[in-house]
């Protein structure tokens, strides 16, 4: 049976404007901390949420993945700024239980834009609402996550922003 199209989730950031350059603090040219993300219009029946930040202008094959976060509680309305890079540090209370997957940097933490100079890259902050609790294990890549949640995405939305490094 065909699954109905996912409901549109509205994804925003108090620090990042759509289609505008990402502030330096969220990139490798700055403090490289994770940005705050918020979302609304999550479908009823959502059992958990996931967030992936990806750059379709890079990667072999694209996209290059900057962050994978899953097992977010369905009550979460966003992710606060600066999730610790310390794997022993607990997640903030509002996203308790969330798990960081493995990014293109091969680490289970956020790593911001660091594109080669030459052109602006586009960064997609994609939020998924899922209709099941999968008991997902730590260490998933974006591909692992998408394979695990296939057929269970009942809501989806994204924020797109850019970043460009100038040649030295």
């Amino acid at each position: 049976m065909m699954q109905p199209p996912p409901q549109a989730i509205v994804v925003r950031s108090p620090s990042i404007a759509a289609e505008q350059p990402i502030p330096r603090d969220y990139t490798a040219d700055g403090r490289n901390i994770s940005p705050p993300i918020t979302w609304t219009n999550v479908p009823s029946g959502t059992k958990q949420l996931a967030l992936v930040i990806e750059d379709p202008d890079a990667g072999n094959p694209p996209p290059f993945v900057h962050w994978v976060l899953y097992n977010l509680p369905p009550t979460a309305t966003g992710v606060p700024e600066a999730i610790s890079i310390d794997p022993q540090a607990p997640m903030p209370r509002e996203i308790a239980g969330a798990i960081q997957g493995v990014s293109g940097f091969r680490r289970p933490i956020y790593r911001g834009p660091a594109p080669p100079p030459g052109k602006p890259h586009h960064y997609h902050f994609v939020v998924y609402a899922l209709d099941a609790d999968f008991g997902l294990k730590p260490g998933l890549t974006r591909a692992d996550l998408l394979a695990a949640i296939r057929g269970h995405i009942i809501g989806q939305g994204e924020l797109v922003a850019t970043y460009e490094r100038k040649a030295p």
């Binding site: 403090r31 490289n32 610790s84 890079i85 310390d86």
Partner: protein, 233 residues
Amino acid sequence: MTFISRRDLLKRAAAVGAAPLATRDVSVGPSSQSGHDVRRDDPGVHLHGVEGLAAREPLETLTAAEADLLDAVVARLIPTDANGPGAAEARAVHYIDRALGGPLAASRGAYTSGLAALDRYARSSRGQPFAELAPLDQDSVLIDVETGAATGFTGSSAAFFALVLNHTHQGTFGDPYYGGNANFVGWDLIGYPGVRTMVTAADQQRLEKGELKTNHKSAYDYDAFTKAGRNGH
């Protein structure tokens, strides 16, 4: 956060091994200038406890500023934590400093440019010199260097990171004769029981049970190794 988990560390250390370096150069042997003799039958060496860092040995290759920065880097690569002392206590920088004047001389230029680039990157991205950053911010900088995300390096920052990490492993887990692994802290960390010229059946059984006590001996505490080295072989 420890920059490298202890589990990773032990896996990587196994690849480095505890054997002395194949290439021996008198310039990295015990130095009268440094006064750091690795013979453990000298009771004086035990004064350098692992509770705190001993005073730095006189530098042979690095500048004081480079050594300070490198000390801060290695302290995050193999950090001191609840499992015991790390690369700083092992005096990995002492090993690197001496080796850059000998077998690792080809890497001297990479250290000059790489350390300068690392500190510039820390200042431009985090607003402070690397050594003054909080440990987690130092880790964040090093992750950027490791992943090639850092800017200002000659070539990829990842190559410089790999070079320093490799030498930090050598300086922490190599034979103390070469200036690192001070007080055998590296070997104690991985449970290496020390160089032995003979292992009895009883020793082997104790080793397999994890009960073999370390002898804290360098290869060069044995005449066979020392004589070969002194003859330049």
